[in-house]
């Protein structure tokens, strides 16, 4: 009996000592003065005016993402969900404005491009310092972009047109390009366009090399409150009392749980609710909603090698566009062409039509249809995505009426993409969103001939279309009117003539916020990002 107890006690002691030592989770780690964390409670804010040194507003903005936030802390290679934090820690030369469809000044105050769109000069903002204390100079900016290009991770390809970068004086940055490209748009990208102090970059998130309004306070991977940010006092934009000085990311997988937390005021922002909850939210006291069209649309790519043109056109007419958008209850808006609204190249008036008779007529031309031979189509879509499941359900039951059976297979992205690269399906259902606010991304990635298939999953091989796509960057940089005509022409060829794809809807973001959040503007160029610096709370 004795040695049993000995063994048990030994085991317990072992596990205790083996685990993490006395590392304090809640306390601050960066050299902030202690006073900062023990912020005074709400009632003292009234007399904040009398004691300017006291904390203006210690309310925390709580963002409830449904996925883990941070996968990669390096601003050069970061390419996933952490954009919702990075966009507030780091800044780029420019920021895209969806209303004006133009890139606007941020770290660069102004910029000029040569006539041929190959020489660009940016004037940098004065008085900007990184969180590491180092001031912003053209030399540091040059180093940052060159490091991003060298690492070639994430969306580094956006700098492909750049030949050389120069820093003639501390506040001037010049680029010379291999071919004309809209560098102001490229510089506004959500990924790989940050200007940072390379010395501040650290993979485990204890410090950052950003110049943005917030800096990292606490990162506890895998915990419910995974990440907290705090205001950077030295920010060039300065601080006003009603702005949020602290931000917390509280990961909530279940949309229903997020909705409860929002109602109880424990959370200030939920990026996506399902349509039913969104409807209820608009009528709930203490909650406000914001619905904005995004730059993400749903695409059905038809296998141009296996399916006859008439069949592809029939499929375009067999989608119940209005029924789908109705069932989505606001989560999507009918698309017109390949390019979502808010981007140069969006052509209104190309809304597709649901017409089963025409579809049947087209099918009969190829010997299919009710009295023809039965047509079987294989379709792959994203597993676990309710909206895509809804589309597939509607399409399957519609095509059943015209003797076309759809074998739909939900798959995880890596498996679906792998099968797609080998031409394994007739219809490939997926979302697409650009890395920076430029319609070029759809055409370059999905409809340009590729030797080794990557995203051209309709396997389109059309010389004319390739030539038009190649000309787009130059036109966008130099002559936007001509660029618009080129986009319209391309969409006519791809959608009408080749019928290589169908675009059922553009996803609309359905955000829900606490009633006390003021001034929130949803910028579709930066998916799911809230610019905490631009919102206020009374």
């Amino acid at each position: 009996m004795r040695w049993h107890q000995g063994l048990l006690v030994g085991v317990v002691a072992l596990t205790l000592s083996a685990c993490a030592g006395g590392q304090v989770r809640g306390a601050d780690r960066s050299p902030q003065p202690a006073a900062d964390t023990t912020a005074p409670t709400a009632q003292t804010t009234q007399n904040a005016q009398t004691t300017p040194a006291a904390q203006a507003n210690d309310k925390t903005f709580v963002y409830a993402p449904n996925l883990d936030v941070v996968t990669d802390w390096d601003p050069a290679t970061s390419y996933s969900n952490e954009i919702i934090a990075m966009a507030n820690i780091y800044e780029s030369l420019t920021r895209y404005n969806a209303q004006t469809q133009k890139a606007e000044p941020k770290l660069a105050t102004e910029w000029t491009a040569s006539a041929d769109g190959k020489e660009w000069t940016f004037k940098l903002r004065e008085g900007v310092t990184f969180h590491t204390g180092k001031p912003l100079t053209a030399e540091v900016a040059k180093q940052a972009i060159e490091r991003t290009i060298k690492l070639n991770g994430g969306a580094a390809y956006i700098w492909a047109p750049v030949k050389t970068i120069a820093a003639p004086d501390p506040l001037t940055l010049t680029f010379s390009l291999k071919y004309a490209a809209p560098l102001d748009l490229v510089a506004s990208s959500g990924y790989a366009s940050y200007i940072y102090d390379p010395d501040g970059v650290s993979p485990d998130g204890d410090k950052d090399g950003g110049s943005g309004p917030y800096t990292i306070d606490q990162w506890a991977k895998g915990k419910e409150t995974e990440l907290t940010l705090k205001a950077y006092d030295g920010y060039w934009g300065g601080w006003k009392p009603e702005q949020y000085r602290k931000v917390a990311f509280r990961v909530t997988e279940q949309v229903n749980t997020a909705w409860q937390l929002l109602q109880s005021g424990e959370v200030s922002f939920v990026p996506r609710l399902n349509p039913q909850l969104f409807q209820q939210a608009s009528g709930t006291q203490g909650v406000q909603t914001a619905s904005t069209p995004s730059f993400q649309n749903l695409l059905l790519l038809f296998n141009t090698e296996k399916l006859d043109p008439e069949v592809r056109q029939a499929l375009q007419h067999a989608i119940d566009y209005d029924g789908l958008v109705a069932a989505l209850k606001g989560a999507g808006v009918k698309a017109s062409g390949l390019v979502p609204p808010g981007l140069l190249g969006h052509t209104p008036g190309k809304e597709p039509v649901y017409d089963m008779d025409k579809a049947h007529e087209l099918l009969q031309k190829r010997g299919f249809g009710v009295d023809g031979t039965e047509l079987e189509l294989s379709l792959t879509y994203a597993q676990g995505d309710d909206d895509q499941k809804l589309l597939v359900t509607l399409l399957t039951s519609a095509l059943k009426k015209v003797n076309v059976t759809v074998k739909a297979k939900p798959m995880q992205w890596s498996a679906q993409w792998d099968q797609g690269k080998k031409g394994g399906q007739d219809i490939f259902v997926m979302y697409w969103y650009p890395d920076y606010a430029d319609a070029y991304s759809w055409f370059y990635n999905m409809f340009r001939t590729e030797k080794e298939t990557s995203f051209n999953l309709s396997y389109l091989k059309d010389k004319e279309i390739d030539k038009l796509i190649a000309g787009l960057p130059a036109l966008t940089a130099v002559d936007q009117v001509k660029a618009h005509e080129a986009y319209a022409d391309l969409q006519r060829r791809i959608l009408d003539e080749q019928a290589a794809a169908a675009v059922p809807y553009v996803q609309t973001y359905q955000r829900a916020l606490g009633a006390d959040v003021k001034g929130y503007v949803d910028n579709p160029a930066y998916p799911n990002v809230v610019f905490f610096y631009d919102v206020t709370s009374p």
Binding site: N256, Q276, L277, Q280, G323, A327, Q383, L394, S397, K409
Partner: protein, 266 residues
């Protein structure tokens, strides 16, 4: 107790088998305009997001669940008893090998192995059956092995051996009949567990896929609507509880009737 279980189960089996006639709407009648209607005389259990009648789908879902339960229990009992018999009767190194393999599968958390398998084979009802059977047969192997081992030491089995009766014949004629009772009891007890695991798999999106009516899947689809349209998630969930409960009650009753003395750990 047993009568309650038998009655409940008969009710569920009948309702599911008669689904095509009983159900007011076809299984996958999609009607986007009447999506998410509350329970009403036309739709006793209301409709789901795609406008399908939940009452009909719960009935059809019964068919899926029973199919899965029977297929899983049948196949795993078959494999398990066969392996268990050979191990129990043969003994020696063969027994050890089989037992070690059984231990490995037993150590494997049932749901995780099912999930791993379901990820490999694309998600359909057959995947669910294969995935769960792969984690369920070890129970029957271990059970029938212990029974077979004890039965094969009985004198009349030795006598048959002395007469030169070939081993397989002995196993089939003597060892098997005596081992069936505990296995049968265990089968009825496990049915509830299989239905829960199948529902969990579909809930994770790795089991049956739309438009097949499967209770676990329906709960998953209705889950995010719980505060706006409560009925979408409630009725399939209740169906699972009721069926699992019926199986458990029947199993308990069977165990007491057939095998009062043996307490079998599942």
């Amino acid at each position: 107790m047993r009568r309650l279980g038998a009655f409940l189960l008969a009710l569920i089996v009948l309702a599911s088998l008669a689904a095509p006639w009983l159900a007011p709407y076809p299984e996958d009648a999609v009607d986007p305009l009447s999506s998410l209607l509350p329970p009403s005389p036309e739709h006793w259990f209301g409709t789901d997001q795609a406008g399908r009648d939940i009452f009909s789908r719960v009935l059809y879902g019964g068919q899926t669940s029973l199919l899965i339960a029977i297929a899983v229990l049948g196949s795993s009992a078959l494999v398990g008893v066969a392996l268990g018999m050979t191990a129990g009767y043969a003994g020696g190194w063969l027994r050890d090998v089989i037992m070690r393999v059984t231990d490995i599968f037993l150590a494997f958390p049932a749901l995780l192995l099912s999930v791993a398998l379901a990820v490999v084979l694309d998600p359909t009802v057959t995947t669910v059956i294969v995935a769960i059977a792969a984690t369920w047969w070890p129970w029957y192997a271990r059970l029938s092995m212990s029974v077979a081992a004890s039965v094969s030491t009985r004198p009349y089995v030795d006598a048959a051996r002395c007469l030169g009766v070939p081993a397989p014949l002995i196993v089939v004629r003597h060892v098997l009949p005596n081992s069936l009772t505990p296995v049968l009891v265990q089968l009825s007890l496990d049915a509830g567990g299989v239905i829960l695991t199948a529902a969990a798999l579909s809930y994770l999106g790795l089991g049956a896929q739309d438009p097949i009516a499967e209770w676990g899947l329906m709960v998953e689809q209705g889950q995010s609507l719980i505060s706006t349209n409560w009925w979408v998630v409630t009725f399939p969930g209740l169906a699972i509880v009721l069926t699992a409960f019926a199986f458990n009650v029947l199993g308990e009753g069977l165990r007491n009737a057939l095998d009062p003395r043996r307490t079998v750990i599942k």
